[in-house]
């Protein structure tokens, strides 16, 4: 087989994960500000800053993970293996995002209760 399926897999994987990470991050950034404003009441600048730091940290962690994980792919020899691996690796990052998201949904209300003492 003379075509290199690994390079094809990397480019498709990079495109899919970049799309998911940026899209999901943007939704969290836009909707999360209401929660952060709830915690830091009347401190609009601080809330905006925290929100932006969270977004940048999120991008760094996720895109870094995508980049690092590329070096751990096995050699791909067939097209059905390409689909399987792409689905599996995308599932890992999507489930990782889901896990982080649910953890945030749990700890942010707790933090709010802690800070506002109510």
């Amino acid at each position: 087989m003379d075509e290199n399926l690994n390079i094809l897999a990397y480019s498709v994987y990079g495109g899919i994960t970049a799309f998911i990470v940026f899209r999901v991050g943007w939704v969290f950034y836009v909707n999360g500000i209401h929660y952060i404003l709830d915690v830091f009441k009347n401190e609009n600048d601080l809330a905006q800053m925290v929100n932006r730091f969270l977004l940048i940290g999120y991008y760094l962690i996720n895109l870094g993970y995508v980049a690092v994980s590329l070096s751990y792919w096995p050699a791909i020899t067939a097209h059905h293996q390409l689909i399987e691996l792409l689905a599996e690796r995308t599932a890992f990052i999507v489930l990782g995002l889901a896990l982080m998201h649910y953890m945030n949904m749990i700890w942010v209300p707790l933090a709010k209760r802690f800070f506002t003492n109510n």
Partner: protein
């Protein structure tokens, strides 16, 4: 050596065809369930946050995102068809494998749907309890 023999017997095009059937159905199913759930979820959220539209909408959107991430992730995770040394993968086997996968996935989605509905109702109840409590506190305050 064994695996080499199997790949020569089994037509890889058939597996790709199975994936191409599985993926759109699983993705569309998730999309449909999420759309139904969160179109109606907004009503609950407005109730839970006592009319604070902004945070209600934000919470609904965040729950929707979480639902998509979890279920699409799961759908992709179970995609791989493990032939397990089978010698044949024809149309019959493909239908059996696909119906098992898609049936299992739709049962899982149904459980997730009811779990989310349960969370919505629980949030509504908690919010109501809190409201009753604060109202009672306000009423009893002058007498102390």
């Amino acid at each position: 050596m064994e695996t080499l023999e199997i790949t020569t017997v089994i037509d890889p095009k058939m597996i790709i065809r199975a994936y191409l059937i599985y993926l759109p159905i699983a993705l569309l199913l998730t999309y449909y369930v999420a759309r139904v759930l969160f179109k109606n979820g907004r009503v609950f959220m407005v109730d839970i946050f006592r009319g604070r539209e902004e945070i209600a909408n934000a919470t609904n959107r965040l729950f929707e995102m979480g639902f998509y991430l979890l279920n699409l992730g799961f759908a992709l995770l179970i995609l791989r068809i493990d032939l397990g040394g089978a010698e044949l993968f024809g149309t019959q086997e493909m239908i059996e494998v696909l119906s098992k996968k898609l049936g299992g996935f739709s049962i899982y989605l149904g459980i997730m749907l009811f779990l989310n509905l349960f969370l919505f109702f629980r949030g509504k109840r908690k919010s109501k309890e809190h409201q009753v409590l604060t109202e009672r506190m306000i009423q009893t305050k002058p007498t102390i």
